[in-house]
Amino acid sequence: MKKVWRVGALALLVVLAVMGSWVWAPKPPISVGVLHSLTGTLAASEKPVVEATLMAIEEVNQAGGVLARPLVPVVMDGASDERQFAAKATELLTGQRVPVIFGCWTSASRKRVKPIVEKAQGLLFYPVQYEGLERSPNIIYMGAAPNQQIVPAVRWALNQLGTRLFLVGSDYVFPRTAHAIMRAQVAALGGQVVGEAFLPLGSTDVATTVARIAQLRPDAVLNTINGDTNVAFFRELRQRGIASWQIPTVSFSLGEVELPVVGLPQTVGDYAAWNYFQSLNRPTNREFVKRFQQRYGSDRVVSDPMEAAYLGVKIWAQAANRMGSIEPSLVGEALAGASIAAPQGPVYIDPENNHAWKTVRIGQIQPNGQFDVVWDAGRPTRPLPYPIFKSEKEWDDFLTGLYQSWGGNWANLGS
């Protein structure tokens, strides 16, 4: 009899131990991909976005992780080279088998990564404002579509600044598309595009353009320059004696992060159009900025793409937890119609096109490097990746035309 009891007790212990190990064993972590330029010309803009992404991942882990599993970021360097982005994306998706990538900056990098992520049935969260004209079931566009940044800004400029506008931008797909939209809008609203210039990426040859501006004296300059060229451009403007109160510039790629680089004396008084400003006076935003500065330094600034990247992580974790799975197709289902109380206000993922409903704001650059919000839409705007003045097909043709004219690139890489 005693032996039976002993054997029985032993068996019970074994069963309890096995069950205990199932229930209480630490769950394996989830690797998530973070793909940005850590080196190269775009590193200055993309590294803060990586930091915001990592902070979001840490906050998710502190709240218990996804499905009670901690997230582990796998950070890869796109090196400011769209081909590197493609290669790293492939490695992340097929090698590391990450269920999601938070990354990309330039439209070129995104366009190269798009087919890769679609083929791998993965998920990419894209945090940057862009030209639209794209949709993918595997990409969540957290940045503004043209109707959430460009179009309202043009309307505001026409109302507030004047009807004669000069368009300047870097020579790649985003500014090219933006200018097309702006032109159509300005024409429809009875304004006038008095001049237009495209500067190659990284070029500092701004003298000619600024001279033209000085000569034409538009009511405002709409600026889609991206990168170092902005430094030269604003410097040249000021050197030419063009003050912001004389010919204001409304920029679309200049945020809190870029201002110190471009130079504050050079940019004070000009405007930028974004969905997010660090200065937004909302409790959620104040907390968010405080957390970021506590983690990275009290002199650090937060810009729109950083907030968008942060939101991407949070909304992905929320959807995965709700769905009970990290399987990209299932999380995609949960992301359709998902909403989050963001620092900027409510952000809602439109199930129709995987773009985010975002609130449009225009801010004026202050001497302290922050923006003073001069116009706020007050509520999120529905994303329309394809502006209605051309049909979708016409827009696709437009893009294809650009791509082919640049010899299979998304930027004008020189001639």
């Binding site: 109707n147 179009v151 309202p152 309307r155 026409l158 109302n159 159509a184 809008q185 024409a187 429809a188 609203l189 009875g190 959620t284 929320q318 709700r322 119609g337 998902a338 909403s339 989050i340 109380a341 963001a342 206000g345 409510p346 952000v347 809602y348 439109d350 199930p351 129709e352 409903w357 509520r379 999120p380 529905r382 329309l384 502006p387 209605i388 003045f389 049909s391």
Partner: protein
């Protein structure tokens, strides 16, 4: 009922084994299932909320898409730029693009906002007449995308509607705008679909209007709620829920609704209205499946428990019944009842035990029977033996009587010719003292002292047996010796003649008795010794002791006709004055005390030596006293005969 009884213990054990796991499983299972059910119900409610929101958003998107598509149709462009827009064309166009949209009015506006064509009413001439109309028109024409206005409330009719506007663009620029007025009834209808929401479920849609959180659709429990009911700060949790949803949060949780009833609610953000939708159901209805399940589990559990108790009791009874019967039977057997019988129809070990028990009872019964028979037989045997013994006893008693009569006769014969003391005293130089102490049973000692002149013949002997024949033999020996002593024959010859005479007589008598005889022929201080008998003891006056062995001096008389060959040279010794000679029979050295120890010749010698200076008579008495004291209380087995001869000291 004995609490330690095997039946009670088995019943309790079975109950414990069955009920304890049942209870544990019941609790754990109930908790697990409740949790799962709760999670499932919650997620279903969330799904209902998601799908409702999707329907509502789809509705708004369809509005925008339809009006946008309408605005882009070439026919519309033509209509708008034509100086006199044709209503029929307008109608036909509308029917193509907006067949799924119940609109109340459709307007075509110029870029400046003049109403060029209105389908149903002539209400508005100018967009500015209605702020919402103006809002929709202005935003559509500057943002160049389809716009839905905020809610417009007609002051006269109280009807609520929305304006949906889209810009009409031509290559030349903005040609104007198209605006549809859509009644809120569609939204109300959508929000009033309670499929999947049971009896108490409803959808609340609220928007911040003029600073107040206002319901914009009728509710199930308040059909007049639209634009009348506000979710004010009195119902804080519901208001918080709405405000949280408007901020972009989603979630599910319990909340007390505007009726004060506890409900489970899922809240969502509605981007098209910049408002919120809350899908809720009364908690009672929501958790009803759980209570049902609980009830079922309890009911089933109760039934199972009852069944288990009944089964355990019956099983315990069935299993222990044979053991209990067997115990009772064994107890009966132990008490002496040899008749218990157990049923043996079972095929298991209990049945084997019962069979073995029954066989054991049978064997015990048989043993008992055989034992009784053996006892009876043995008793009969014993009876027989006892009768025999009784008979033998009688015979023995008779024999005993006869023997003692004979013994008495023999004694008398022996006593007849004992030498007189006067004779003894007449012997000049020898003191002769002698005594025969006759034992009770064994007898036969003989002694005599004969004088003939200065010759003295002392004889001592032991006749076998006792009784009449022994007495006769003593007489014959005495007579023959008296006659022979008159002749002056050598001692050997005397003995041989004596033997011849006794032998012949014994033959005639058919008697197998015999006797030992020692002859002492004394004359002038010296003597001859013949005959086989005990040792003679010679003690000198100075104390030297000499034991004279008589083994070779003869043979018992009466056994053989001629003993001449056995006769050796007679022993020849002389007695100095004061010397002693002791003659005795085996009664003295073989006298036993209570421990069975013999008196022994040595002790005889020692006593005689110690008292050698006494008279012969005194020495005899001393030795007798010593022998008597040695024997103590033990029985005397044999006659004690002692002759002491002492050469008188000169006077």
């Amino acid at each position: 009922m004995r609490w330690s009884s095997v039946r009670v213990r088995l019943t309790l054990s079975l109950l414990a084994i069955a009920l304890v796991p049942l209870l544990i499983l019941g609790f754990v299972g109930d908790r697990e299932v409740t949790q799962r059910l709760q999670m499932e119900i919650q997620s279903r409610l969330e799904e209902a909320a998601t799908s409702r929101v999707r329907e509502l958003e789809t509705h708004f998107r369809n509005l925008q898409t339809a009006v946008g598509a309408l605005a882009q149709s070439p026919t519309l462009r033509e209509l708008l730029v034509s100086p006199a827009p044709n209503r029929n064309v307008w109608q036909k166009l509308l029917s193509v693009y907006t067949e799924s949209i119940p609109y109340q009015d459709a307007l075509l506006l110029s870029p400046a906002g003049h109403v060029r064509l209105s389908l149903n009413s002539q209400r508005y001439q100018f967009a500015g007449e209605n702020p919402r109309l103006q809002q929709a028109f202005e935003q559509a024409t500057t943002l160049l995308e389809p716009i839905i206005s905020d809610f417009d409330r007609d002051r006269q009719t109280g009807e609520v509607s929305l304006f949906v506007s889209a810009p009409v663009l031509t290559p030349q620029g903005l040609a104007g705008a198209v605006v549809l007025r859509v009644s809120n009834r569609t939204l109300a209808r959508l929000a009033s679909q309670y499929g999947g929401l049971g009896r108490t479920g409803e959808v609340l849609v609220a928007v911040n209007l003029e600073g107040k959180l206002t319901l914009v659709t009728p509710t199930r429990h308040d059909p007049d709620a639209a634009f009348r009911r506000t979710v004010d700060t009195v119902q804080t949790s519901l208001a918080q829920m709405f405000q949280g949803a408007i901020a972009g949060n989603t979630g599910v949780g319990p909340v007390r609704d505007y009726r004060g009833v506890m409900t489970l609610a899922a809240w969502r953000y509605l981007p098209s209205l910049n408002g919120a939708a809350v899908v809720k159901m009364d908690v009672d209805e929501v958790w009803a499946p759980i209570f049902q399940m609980r009830g079922v589990i309890l009911g089933l559990g109760g039934l199972t428990a009852i069944a288990v108790v009944v089964a355990a009791t019956a099983l315990a009874k069935a299993l222990t019944q044979p053991t209990i019967e067997l115990t009772a039977a064994a107890l009966a057997l132990a008490a002496g009842n040899y008749n218990p019988w157990l049923p043996t129809d079972r095929r298991d070990e209990i049945g084997d035990l019962a069979k073995a028990f029954n066989e054991m009872v049978v064997q015990i019964q048989e043993s008992m029977t055989r034992l009784e028979e053996r006892v009876a037989a043995r008793t009969r045997e014993l009876q027989g033996a006892r009768d025999e013994i009784a008979a033998l006893n009688v015979a023995l008693q008779q024999e005993n009587f006869r023997l003692s009569a004979e013994v008495a006769v023999g004694r008398r014969l022996q006593q007849l010719l004992v030498p007189k003391s006067a004779e003894l005293a007449a012997i000049a130089d020898l003191e002769v003292a002698g005594v025969v102490e006759v034992a009770d049973e064994v007898g036969g000692d003989y002694f005599d002292v004969l004088r003939h002149g200065d010759r003295v013949i002392v004889s001592i002997g032991d006749v076998t047996g006792h009784g009449f024949e022994s007495g006769a033999i003593s007489l014959m020996v005495q007579s023959a010796l008296r006659v022979l002593s008159a002749l002056d024959l050598p001692p050997n010859q005397v003995l041989a003649l004596l033997n011849y005479g006794i032998y012949e007589n014994l033959q005639r008598m058919n008697c197998d008795k015999s006797l030992t005889l020692l002859l002492l022929a004394y004359q002038n201080g010296c003597f001859h010794l013949v005959g086989q008998h005990e040792e003679a003891v010679l003690i000198r006056q100075d104390g030297a002791v000499q034991r004279l062995d008589t083994t070779d001096l003869g043979f018992p008389l009466g056994l053989e006709p001629d003993v001449t060959d056995y006769l050796a040279m007679p022993l020849y010794h002389c007695l100095a004055p004061g010397d002693l000679l002791l003659l005795y029979t085996d009664g003295i050295p073989e006298a036993t005390d209570e421990a069975g120890k013999f008196y022994g010749v040595e002790r005889l010698c020692a006593v005689a030596q110690t008292h050698r200076h006494l008279t012969a008579e005194a020495i005899v008495q001393t030795v007798l006293a010593s022998v008597r004291s040695h024997v103590g209380l033990a029985r005397v087995h044999d006659d004690i005969t002692l002759i002491v001869l002492k050469r008188r000291l000169p006077a």
